[in-house]
């Protein structure tokens, strides 16, 4: 199945992600920044689709946009905003920020210059049809152990949440 106008879509989606990333940090109103973040995540899901990883894109939409961001919005609404706005924003550390940004910039430039030999030559192009099955097999085959550990971690987190709120119920 020959893809359609991939270059245009690629630039369009990555541009969207970048734009929403910038929006997230510049917006004063926390809800607006949360929305920008959701928009960015959806654009990212589009990018995954272009990499023929529909399963990951689907999970991205469900988990990130549908689940976690809803909780973000919940928290933003329940915490009454006036109080948080009054607290003094600690943005004195301009200097530290610039240094960190510069270091990151240098790293990107180096990677770009090294270019090809960092990445394996052939472009991995798993066929579109069995992508989900492949992930399933790998998840429960090779990486079974890691998968269990992760689920354990999540369980602990859930129990923590319940205990914290337990007094409330």
């Amino acid at each position: 199945m020959q893809p359609v106008a991939t270059t245009f879509f690629f630039y369009f989606l990555s541009g969207l992600t970048l734009a929403s990333g910038v929006l997230v940090i510049t917006r004063k109103n926390p809800v607006h920044s949360a929305l920008a973040l959701i928009f960015g995540l959806l654009a990212q899901a589009g990018l995954y689709l272009m990499l023929y990883a529909p399963f990951v894109a689907g999970v991205q939409i469900i988990l990130y946009a549908g689940g976690i961001m809803v909780l973000f919005l919940f928290v933003i609404m329940l915490v009454n905003l006036e109080r948080s706005q009054k607290e003094e924003q600690f943005n004195k550390q301009w200097l530290v920020g610039i240094v960190a940004a510069a270091a990151l910039g240098v790293l990107f430039v180096l990677v770009y210059m090294k270019g090809a030999d960092l990445f394996p030559v052939r472009m991995t192009l798993p066929t579109e049809s069995n992508n989900t099955q492949e992930i399933g097999v790998m998840l429960y085959g090779q990486y079974m152990f890691a998968f269990e550990i992760a689920s354990l971690l999540l369980l602990v987190a859930i129990i923590g949440a319940v205990v914290m709120a337990k007094k409330r119920i």
Partner: protein, 389 residues
């Protein structure tokens, strides 16, 4: 929660004495919510101030008086017969029983007795009115809990009763069909046939309501265990009527102190065990059936004869006072009349069941959730015209 009343009533009564909301890690701020006079579910102009801890109700305070018309003050400036229509305006849903109570109280004062035929007509009309009042209660109560359909069923059937009233005395709601000493009008010639037709029409309809609600999973979930009140609390708070019977007290004025012609009919008094909203629902449904039974017996054995006792044109009851009460659909409706020998009563005191039952709202709702407050107001079956007088 239930028995703290009888144990040590004074602690209960420190006003809005509230359990300390559990200050926890996520400190919840109590909320004072005002379920205002124009709330769709408060059956008229009742304002309830709720003190909430999150969703749980800590305490309530009822603010009433929005519909106060000063009926008792008017009574002191009207003659006995002129005051009769005012009585219907109090509990406008069950106007006939108001009229019955008042007329019988004054007849007691005048020491006259309504003729048997009048008493039978009075019983038939009062029971029909009780049925109509319960149907209206069921419709609005189900609507408050979310079931829309019963409302239309009950109002369709209530229409039949109102047609009979309209044919008999020209009015549907505030009938003013009784006079001191008997009934105003002789029954129109098709009266018995209409009532019998209604008696065959009604029972399957009541089964329809039962079909819709009694075994409805969500209805059970919304009513079982909601707004429970124990028999001891009912007695202490003076709660009467279906609410008292649902808590297990087998007491009905029509049997305890029979008036009109009730002693001549046999019918059971339905009672519940737990005194929760579901029991009150069952008690009232059963009462509807008992009313039909009474009407059937009354229509079959209605005697011939005059419908009006010999009553002086200008009534001057002897000096003295009496208290007479009847079993209105909502509870014990009492009239305390003091006469000073003139044509106008010196003092008329009405003991409204809704006013006293409403007092139990606070204890029934404490610890429940906000959604249940509406269900409990519905199950108390209060009419604000009677509460505010």
């Amino acid at each position: 929660m239930g028995d703290q009343i009888t144990k040590d009533p004074s602690t209960y009564l420190s006003h809005l004495e509230l359990g300390e909301p559990d200050k926890t890690f996520l400190d919840s701020n109590e909320l004072i919510i005002n379920m205002g006079p124009q709330h769709p579910a408060t059956h008229g102009v009742l304002r309830v101030i709720l003190k909430l801890d999150g969703e749980k109700v800590l305490g309530t305070e009822c603010v009433i008086g929005y519909l106060h018309r000063g009926v008792e003050k008017i009574a002191e400036n009207r003659t006995y017969t002129m005051f009769n229509p005012y009585v219907d305006r109090m509990d406008y849903v069950a106007a006939v029983s108001n009229g019955l109570g008042y007329c019988e109280a004054v007849e007691k004062l005048l020491n006259i007795e309504a003729p048997p035929r009048a008493q039978y007509i009075r019983v038939i009309l009062t029971e029909l009115n009780r049925l109509a009042s319960h149907q209206l209660w069921l419709g609005t109560h189900a609507l408050d809990i979310g079931a829309m359909t019963p409302l239309f069923y009950t109002f369709r059937d209530r229409e039949e009763i109102l047609k009979i009233f309209e044919k008999y005395c020209g009015a549907r709601l505030t009938t003013h069909s009784f006079r001191i000493g008997g009934c105003q009008y002789e029954t129109y010639e098709g009266f018995e046939r209409d009532v019998e037709k209604f008696l065959d029409f009604a029972p399957p309809k009541i089964d329809e309501y039962e079909e819709l609600l009694t075994t409805n999973r969500i209805w059970l979930e919304r009513t079982k265990g909601v707004g429970t009140i124990s028999a001891a609390d009912c007695k202490a708070l003076g709660v009467t009527g279906p609410v008292l019977r649902a808590s297990g007290v087998k007491w009905d004025l029509r049997k305890a102190q029979p008036y009109a012609a009730y002693s001549k009919f046999d019918f059971e008094i339905p009672t519940g065990q737990h005194g929760d909203t579901y029991d009150r629902y069952l008690v009232r449904m059963q009462e509807m059936r008992q009313s039909l039974r009474i009407i059937r017996q009354a229509v079959e054995s209605i005697p011939e004869g005059p419908i009006m006792a010999k009553v002086p044109k200008v009534m001057k009851p002897p000096v003295g006072e009496i208290y007479h009460s009847i079993e209105a659909p909502k509870g014990e409706l009492g009239y305390f009349i003091v006469s000073d020998g003139s044509t106008q009563p010196y003092r008329v005191r009405v003991r409204p069941p809704s006013f006293v039952n409403l007092q139990a709202l606070d204890i029934m709702v404490r610890g429940q959730l906000v959604a249940d407050v509406i269900a409990v107001i519905g199950t108390l079956d209060i009419v604000l015209g009677e509460v505010d007088r």
